[in-house]
């Protein structure tokens, strides 16, 4: 077997993180804005008021810009699995490929088809039919997210599959178990509803901008009202599902939850404080400058006052026998691969559950070959492998806290926004309006940090407890990775710049720009207005 170059693995990780984080700047707005458009159109169908049609068309245009650029950034990621993560694709492709294929064939096709009808169907469909189309676009975009998160959950909490020593890969046993994986369920709802929060803040912020400028008051006040209500319920749902995910992590990914909480030693319930601030030191395995809130950690994580949460040091100790057993599993697997003997297979089956820990130990084995580990070397290999079971604690700890603080800020802002709007006092609260405007990018930041928490916390695994990340990458050269990374960074930065330019331009122009051009559309086809007026107008 070829020797693994850690620099290539790091560059592959960095490239995937970069493309995923870029892509995820667009996704939440698409997920949420579609359902927000459906809400606006529902009011248009019920009341028949023109202002709601204007609202749906204006916010729909901003959705269109985001959708077009977001799709472009997502496609490359699917290819990256094959190009940069070929070992992972071989090992886990059977599990991962199915949801991705369904996503492309079902959800994305559905979304793309109906998006055309939504943009160009205003004068060709009845109000009710157009509303149904908008709901289908919303459903399609969220189903896209569903299948991606089903695939992601299979990596975080693998179920419905087994490892086949003949093909050397995980093979699917039950697609139902994969789809109804509890992690997939909670993660999908958490992510989808985080998109609703993003959309609500986006609409509320831009509406606040118009109110501050004294423009489009009729339009902005209604948009603000709907966004504030849409946002406050969504924020409550996001926080609820965040709690559910924390509980699932506690059950299935103890290293992730311990890293999130910066918990090096076992907790002491019920007193154990929840750390609001700390500087985790991964090297020394301790925290500096801890500031905590007593009696919060145990009920928060375990929903009880007397359950101990295992700390990271204890988790390392518990991993020791699994590492030894995993090494035995790999030796037996190698033997079985060469001989196909029943004895080797039986030996492998006895240690199969710990195989992933054997893969982790490979990195520290002489020549990256576990079969070459002598009895004298075994303890030193196990000791060297133990710290590898932990994720980067500093990153996981802080990305989680940034996400949490931001979600509490959204709750406060939406609650105030909804209250002030319901009291019809918006134009007397300029500070609130300014805060809404400045907070537009924050939900995107929160979702990015949410992803970092989930994915950095999953380390060192791509498939939790089965396949380590360092073994998952392709065997490219460093120069190839640097070149493609630079290319992606450049290309995606152009996409971001284009998105920001178009969003700022059309948000500043406002809905009155649409109204002005709609009047002249009977004479000229205006390319800028293609989303609103339709191609044939």
């Amino acid at each position: 077997m070829h020797s693994i170059n850690p620099m290539v693995v790091d560059l592959s990780r960095f490239q995937f993180a970069l493309t995923a984080l870029y892509h995820f700047m667009f996704v939440p707005l698409t997920l949420g804005l579609t359902f927000f458009l459906a809400a606006i159109e529902t009011v248009y169908v019920v009341t028949g008021k023109q202002v709601y049609k204007d609202m749906a068309q204006f916010w729909g245009k901003l959705f269109g810009i985001n959708f077009a650029i977001g799709v472009a950034t997502g496609i490359t990621m699917e290819f990256e699995f094959g190009t940069n993560w070929s070992m992972y694709s071989h090992f886990f492709g059977d599990m991962f490929g199915t949801p991705l294929a369904i996503e492309g064939l079902m959800a994305f096709f559905m979304e793309s088809t109906f998006v055309g009808l939504m943009f160009f169907g205003w004068d060709r469909l009845s109000r009710q039919a157009h509303l149904a189309v908008t709901f289908l676009v919303a459903l399609g975009s969220n189903l896209s997210a569903l299948w991606i998160l089903v695939a992601n959950a299979a990596m975080n909490v693998p179920q419905g599959a087994h490892f086949d020593p003949d093909t050397m890969r995980m093979q699917s046993d039950s697609i139902v178990q994969v789809i109804f994986n509890p992690d997939a369920q909670a993660k999908f709802v958490h992510t989808s509803v985080a998109g609703y929060v993003t959309a609500a803040m986006f609409v509320m912020g831009i509406s606040a901008f118009y109110i501050l400028q004294g423009r489009n008051k009729e339009f902005a006040a209604r948009s603000f009202r709907m966004a504030a209500i849409f946002g406050i319920i969504s924020t409550v749902a996001v926080i609820t599902l965040g709690d559910v995910l924390g509980r699932l992590d506690y059950e299935h990914q103890p290293t992730k939850i311990a890293a999130i909480e910066g918990l090096w030693e076992n907790s002491h319930p019920p007193y154990e404080p929840w750390l609001a601030f700390a500087i985790p030191d991964d090297e020394k395995q301790k925290n500096h400058l801890e500031v905590g809130i007593p009696f919060v950690l145990s009920p928060l994580v375990t929903h009880s006052f007397d359950t101990t949460i295992i700390g990271m040091k204890e988790l390392q100790t518990q991993a020791e026998p699994r590492i030894t057993s995993g090494i035995q599993a790999l030796v037996a697997l190698h033997h079985y691969d060469q001989t196909h003997s029943a004895t080797a297979l039986a030996e492998f089956r006895a240690h199969e559950a710990d195989m992933g820990f054997g893969f982790l130990a490979m990195k520290h084995a002489p020549g990256q070959d576990v079969a070459a580990i002598t009895e004298d070397q075994m303890q030193s290999v196990v000791d060297a492998t133990k710290p590898d079971i932990l994720p980067n604690v500093f990153v996981t700890f802080w990305s989680f806290r940034i996400m949490v603080v931001l979600s509490l800020w959204f709750f406060l802002l939406f609650a105030l926004g909804a209250y002030v709007s319901l009291k019809n006092r918006l134009n007397r609260n300029h500070l609130l309006l300014k805060l809404c405007l400045w907070s537009i990018p924050l939900p995107i930041l929160a979702t990015e940090f949410g992803w970092i928490t989930a994915e950095a916390g999953r380390q060192p695994w791509t498939v939790f407890n089965f396949l380590p990340t360092y073994l998952s990458a392709s065997s490219h050269g460093v120069s190839y990775m640097v070149f493609s990374l630079a290319g992606f960074a450049l290309l995606y930065s152009i996409f971001i710049a284009a998105e920001l330019f178009l969003m700022f331009k059309f948000a500043r122009l406002g809905p009155e720009h649409d109204a002005h051009h709609a009047q002249s559309a009977s004479v000229h086809v205006v390319p800028d207005d293609v989303f609103v007026t339709g191609m044939g107008d």
């Binding site: 009011v43 009341t47 709601y52 369920q185 709802v189 509803v193 009202r225 849409f230 319920i233 134009n427």
Partner: protein
Amino acid sequence: MQLVRMVGLALAVVVALLFAVFVGDQGPWYFAWVVGTVMIVLTASAGAVLFEAQHQGSEVKDI
């Protein structure tokens, strides 16, 4: 024609019930998402309808 419509609606109800029973059992959070999303959309819509009621017959001045 009315019979066809009634049968169609009855079928939709049966499908919705089966969906609720199956998904509610197998995937409670998926079910919660379906119900919750509809609730969020309708509550936001209700907020707009309330806005219309609050400003009925008058130009929007205090917002």
